[in-house]
């Protein structure tokens, strides 16, 4: 799809969300629900004694997975699958730079994910919840976070060029 057309579509999805619910979109919050639920299931004592998890529990009295973003992200998986099926892009695949082994790519994805997950908690939201939704409502913090994400990635791009462009 033409990127500008896709952008307008995404913009209308975001606008509809704000119009109906008064809040923006998000993504990392659903992964937080998964992380907290995993801790609760595997280490209940530790869960009970840690304020961070207890604060989360207080915000989600119906259950750790009963969160708006969990349902939204289930929708993302469904919508993206549907889109991939329509455009013929389904299939198990590992996408990587030209000079990279599968192992390196998987380690890179896991490690990058860890950093992103950690950073999204510190920065109170990721590219969706903080940067994109923040821009729509002109939040100062949201737009600053957006600049920091893209600025940080640009600043580090040179050092990781072997992962993506050169052999």
């Amino acid at each position: 799809m033409n990127p500008y057309l896709a952008g307008v579509l995404l913009g209308f999805v975001l606008l509809t969300t704000i119009y109906i619910t008064g809040r923006g979109l998000g993504a990392s919050g659903a992964m937080k629900s998964v992380a907290v639920t995993a801790v609760k299931a595997t280490a209940p004592e530790h869960y009970e004694s840690t304020t961070y998890y207890q604060d989360y529990e207080a915000d989600h009295p119906d259950g750790t997975m009963q969160s708006w973003l969990v349902f939204e992200m289930l929708g993302v998986l469904i919508g993206a699958f549907f889109s991939g099926a329509l455009s013929g892009r389904l299939g198990l695949k590992l996408e990587k730079g030209p000079g990279v082994t599968n192992t390196t790519r998987v380690i890179g994805a896991i490690f990058g994910g860890m950093l992103f997950g950690f950073g999204s908690q510190l920065g109170r939201g990721c590219t969706s919840g903080s940067a994109l939704s923040g821009m729509a409502v002109m939040s100062f913090g949201g737009i600053i976070t957006m600049l920091a994400i893209f600025g940080g990635a640009y600043a580090l791009a040179y050092f990781f060029r072997k992962l993506w462009i050169t052999r």
């Binding site: 993206a80 992103f116 949201g142």
Partner: protein, 399 residues
């Protein structure tokens, strides 16, 4: 007025709506090509600026939509969620996320889109992100002070710059359009292609670029719906038609003494003025807040007649006009100010020498009314206060 949840759509449907908008979100992300990690990082090496194009277009579209809906009074922007600003953690967290982006090749939303179509690296990224969030939770006691530092609340960018909201919207739109042109040229240069931006269909490109700019300019030059209706109402009032009905002080006092339950007396001055003195049974809604949807129901109670009064007769009339705009046709405006009312009843009521029968009756009535109104007010002091419906900001964000 939107947001539709919780007043128009029940909060029970919120999860269903989350699922539906999520489907739209996922579809748009995947259609934009965000399920491809090489496309995503292309932004940082200059060979593919799809991310910037989609991201900025989406942000500007939604932003203009929000401003437009607010302009038409279809969306109450004072209660929608605005990400709070904590600069130290926002910048540090952002840079860490930037590192995660360039190493992992995704952000959380796009990794889910990739995972959904079977990309194994997408699943690996989701797993990593979950571990990263877990790590943050474990280290939270050490990070808490830094995390909470520099709280500036739901700060808005245009307030920081000290400009109007719509001016900021225009600037951001212009930046986006400039970025589209610049990156379009860079992209072709990096890929060793002729710069196609300067050739091709000029007409369509110009039309596409001028639509958002025209929308913002239109919002800029036209009055908002509130301004428009107030202007119209005032013009009609000035022309002599649509006069709010007036009630005089003695009549109001009489009605309060005998039928107070049939009247909804509303003080439109500031809360401080209201505290200092108010007419018995009156509630306080400052004039600027009267437009608020929260009061619409209160203004349209069938069994009660609204009586507005303020610091000036003009204030009371204006309040009356607002109520009329909201569909209430029976509202009354007190023809004297709050201070005059106070003086009339609680001031020095003297009977001149050799009074006429009428003067005597009025003075006696006012003394009696003052006493009675005080009693009523005291009796009602413990009643349930009806108005203070608090409009709370929607909770959102990634928590």
């Amino acid at each position: 007025m939107a947001p539709l949840i919780p007043d128009i759509i029940a909060p029970e449907y919120n999860y269903l709506i989350a699922l539906i908008v999520g489907i739209g979100f996922g579809f748009a992300l995947e259609q934009a090509g965000f399920s491809s990690t090489r496309k995503l990082v292309g932004l940082f090496y200059g060979y593919d600026f799809t991310v910037l194009k989609v991201f900025f277009t989406a942000g500007v579209t939604a932003m203009i939509g929000v401003v437009l809906l607010a302009h038409l009074e279809l969306l109450n922007t004072s209660i929608i969620f605005v990400n709070p600003t904590f600069l130290p953690s926002a910048i540090t967290g952002g840079i860490i996320m930037g590192a995660g982006f360039i190493i992992g090749g995704f952000c959380p939303g796009t990794s889910a889109a990739a995972a959904a179509i079977g990309k194994l690296d997408g699943w690996a990224f989701i797993g990593g992100a979950t571990i990263g969030i877990f790590a943050f939770g474990e280290f939270f006691p050490l990070l808490e002070d830094f995390y909470m530092a520099g709280n500036q609340g739901p700060l808005l960018f245009y307030d920081v710059l000290g400009i109007e909201r719509i001016t900021f919207a225009l600037i951001l739109t212009a930046i986006a359009l400039f970025a589209f042109v610049a990156t379009g040229m860079i992209e072709d240069k990096v890929n060793n292609k002729p710069v196609h931006l300067l050739s091709g269909n000029w007409k369509n490109k110009t039309i596409a670029a001028s639509v958002p700019v025209a929308l913002v300019l239109l919002i800029m030059i036209t009055p908002s719906r509130k301004e428009f209706t107030m202007e119209k109402l005032e013009a009609r009032a000035a022309a002599g038609e649509c006069k709010p009905d007036l009630i005089d002080a003695d009549k109001l006092a009489f009605e309060i003494m005998n039928n107070y339950y049939q009247y909804n007396v509303i003080d439109v001055r500031s809360p401080e003025e209201y505290e200092a003195f108010h007419i018995a049974t009156a509630i306080n809604i400052p004039l600027d807040d009267l437009h608020n949807t929260a009061y619409r129901e209160l203004l349209n109670q069938r069994i009660q007649t609204n009586v507005f009064y303020g610091a000036s007769p003009a204030q009371a009339k204006k309040a009356c006009l607002i109520a009329r705009y909201h569909g209430n046709t029976s509202s009354l405006a007190l023809d004297v100010t709050a201070r005059d009312f106070e003086n009339t009843f609680y001031g020095d009521i003297s009977i001149p020498e050799n009074p006429s029968k009428e003067q005597q009756t009025v003075a006696l009535f006012r003394r009696q009314a003052a006493k009675k109104m005080k009693e009523i007010e005291e009796n009602l002091a413990s009643r349930e206060k009806p108005v203070k419906q608090k409009m709370t900001r929607v909770q959102g964000g990634c928590s």
